[in-house]
């Protein structure tokens, strides 16, 4: 069965803040409703907690870290769901139930099957 990674892009929120409680509950409900096809999932801390890592030159070079996200955009990567679906139509139908689909956007990417 093909796998897809559904990436949620929404406002860069702190999921633990009380204002997010009801929306977080909706994501939890999504996970319960679609438990059968979910292989992994996570919601992420806000991008203010992100660290970008680069190694200078080639492998073994200096490790350089920068504070903050890789790209500053209005909508940030806030979570992901690894799901199994028969085809893209099914993956889209599942992803359309994610609150991010109406509060932002969900990017659905096919995962390369491991052989």
């Amino acid at each position: 069965m093909p796998q897809y990674l559904a990436l949620t892009y929404t406002a860069d929120v702190d999921w633990f803040s009380p204002e997010q409680a009801s929306e977080l509950a909706e994501y939890r409900q999504f996970a319960v409703d679609n438990a059968e096809c979910l292989r992994a999932s996570a919601v992420l801390h806000p991008t203010s907690t992100a660290t970008v890592v680069r190694v200078e030159g080639a492998r073994g070079g200096n490790v350089v870290t920068t504070d903050g996200p890789y790209a500053e955009t209005k909508e940030a990567l806030t979570g992901y769901y690894l799901l199994e679906a028969a085809d893209l139509d099914e993956a889209v139908a599942i992803s359309a139930q994610l609150p991010a689909a109406w509060a932002g956007a969900v990017e659905v990417r096919p995962v390369i099957a491991s052989r």
Partner: protein
Amino acid sequence: MHGTAHDAVAVTVRVEGARILATLIRTVGDVQIAEDAVQEAILAALGAWPVTGVPPQPRAWLTLTARRKAIDIIRRERARLGKERDGLRMIELAKSDLPPDDVVHDDLLRLIFICCHPALAPPTRVALALRTLCGLSPAQIAGVLLTTEAATTKRLTRARQKIAAAHIPYRVPAEAELADRLPAVCGVIHSLFTAGHAPVDGRAAYDVDACAEAVRLADLLHDLLPDQPMPAAVLALLLLTEARRPARLDEHGDVVTLDQQDRGRWDAAAIARGIALLNDSLRRSYGQADAYQLQAAIAAEHGRAASYANTDWTEILRLYDLLVSIAPSDAAGLGRVVAATEAADPATGLAMLAELPPSPRWHAVRAELLARVGRYADAALALAESLDGPATQPERQHRERRREAFLELSLPSAPYERES
């Protein structure tokens, strides 16, 4: 090789090609392999038939040749990748009977819906439809879409990769999904027709008649889904518009505007069929007209009118009002201006025009309205502005001629005074 004989063979294989491809994609489960196999079979036919003559059953010949080519390709792939055998596919391909019509019917629908899948970008859908459903080459598609062959090839390759990697399904949408999926299919056919009917720029330099291809696709879609109102409306719109094509240019290739057209050159049979299809479509949608039905209804009003003067402009204006309210576009807005001018007066039209964004077409319409109220100098200026933008060669020449005529009329002295 004789030109026309070759053309006849080319048309046969192109039409049969889509049918055969549709079934082959399902059998081999891979768009690319199926397309390559059909392409190789078509090349074989184009090489052999002009010499041997077209076989008595060209469809059977092409189907079996394409299957053999598919087996060859799969064997080559297997050897290259060291993949294990997949026997079922091979057994299916080794069969020598033709698929029954109802199977081909569903396969063609699958092919249409995969080409027009909403997960593909609109220009990609058009390119895929031209490639797989119309059998055009990337160079021909580039000509229709005013892009390069390299860009078209890249677009098609990416589309096939996405179909395979993302598992875009090869299936006919369920009855309940059709309402969501049909607009994309109809949009592909309509934009293909528009590309042929009203090219933005340049001469019609390509050897493909995009309008004829669009009509063929609309016919096919309506044939496959006869109970759906939208494909019927699209076919009606295309037929009603296409019916007037023979009168749009005169024998010198010059533009003839609607008021001057020889209505005897309109295709009366196409108009009659278009009107019947429109009525059928409207009945099936319970009077809730969509944009295609409204545009077809406008075209039907023109098709019905015995002359420009006898046109029911009040009804056309009403239809444009509805069209602009549900699907506003620059073209619809300008059509509404013309209808209002004819139904009321040029001042009404000019007032409406002031609300719309200027474009080359906008300036050209404005010029005609200004001339109607005797402002010839302003009309000539408006045409000069419209000639600043892109337009087809015949359209440019038409506007040049109109500009010269308006300049002449704007001169203060009467013609007989200038003769002395």
